[in-house]
Symmetry: C2
Subunit: 259 residues, 2 copies
Amino acid sequence: MRNIAMLVSYEGTAYHGFQIQPERVTVQQRLVEAIFKLTGEKAHLHGSGRTDAGVHARGQVISFQTGSTIPTDRWPAAMNTELPSDISIVAAQEVPLAFHARKQARRKTYRYYIQNGRIPNVFLPYVFHYPRPLDVERMHAAAQLLTGEHDFTSFCSRKSDKASHIRTIYRADCVWKPSPFDLSGKSEQIEFSITGNGFLYNMVRIIVSTLIQVGDGRKSPEDLLFILQQRDRTLAGPTAPAKGLFLWEVQYDELHFDI
Amino acid sequence: MRNIAMLVSYEGTAYHGFQIQPERVTVQQRLVEAIFKLTGEKAHLHGSGRTDAGVHARGQVISFQTGSTIPTDRWPAAMNTELPSDISIVAAQEVPLAFHARKQARRKTYRYYIQNGRIPNVFLPYVFHYPRPLDVERMHAAAQLLTGEHDFTSFCSRKSDKASHIRTIYRADCVWKPSPFDLSGKSEQIEFSITGNGFLYNMVRIIVSTLIQVGDGRKSPEDLLFILQQRDRTLAGPTAPAKGLFLWEVQYDELHFDI
């Protein structure tokens, strides 16, 4: 047996998230089906983590063991012939048998895109359109209060089944990002990027909606700090829509894809 | 009566082009329906030109006369409440009664996007994915041969009903363009931008596919010049897919939208 890791992009709109569930179409299911078509094996496939329904991944990482003799560098093209057009294998690499895409993940980066302005941009399908003006510097200042090790219970779905809600955020940045189709004559897209050692259920989306409340003046950066300290989900904002969220990158100590 | 000009963006995937036709859903039809809902008037609406089925517009310009008293600056938001999410009014301006969006158009710019590389990028819906390597500098050099006044019969659908196929191209540029979701580690998107005093039926898409043949080595820049001189549609490439094409900008002598 060989252990294969792959870098996977998917456009999550059509899927009920990453993880296999009964009677729902998921990304993991499509990946397992493609491997079956190529090898006849029912692979036991690990992802670096789940993504929710409608969430996208630029750089999800998966691993699975196979007895197939397909050369590693042929796997991406072979898989892409079997996968639907909204899932793409970007790279593949053989890894030690002990490698596990979830257990060995060290750092994850998520990004969230907000289109800000009165007029919706029809060419930005992967954004949350928020029409009221947002103060991005104020949002960025508030995001800095989240860095470090904290209990993120206030920014976590009550459905979380994790024993500990303590996570470490290494960095969090909120910046204007030019849109390639911008007609407004000024920047209209905000990129929120957050890197940590792990993320709780809905955590990034709850942080984003709370930062939006800071950006439009409903809350102050100090309010954000208070919410964090209270460990009370009801104090933070709602869960921002899935369509603006990307699992951007997963980092490992010893895995680097050659692309 | 007042004459109103509007700047319109649309994502063309769902439409059988701009112009109204029987039993097909078109952008013009949706615009006329939205005006009817707001004013009760069946507007006689002009576009700067047609776009084909599946072609997008970043900056289409329309004009129509109305007896409505809706203030000009309220038109975009009012229209956007009545339009589907893939059509958006970006700006509106009152213009002299004699203004006509097609007849007064002086220069048009189209852009075409090619994603070049073996791995399809699932986040670039508005590109033609061409997997074989392309030499962009060679394509750019060939594109320069198209500038100036020429008879573009070789680069025009045989269905064209225009009396003259002579058009002037002011500039044509082929460049690498960074993709916001690039995972390949290198540029993977090519932008072709062309500005002229007018374009014939399928002209940009036929030019693009011929430039791709130059870029992958099947044709030389000199071949392109020969094809142009022969005025023979069979010598040029096929018609590139609609999904990568945008009507980018339309310029007028006396209309400038305030956005």
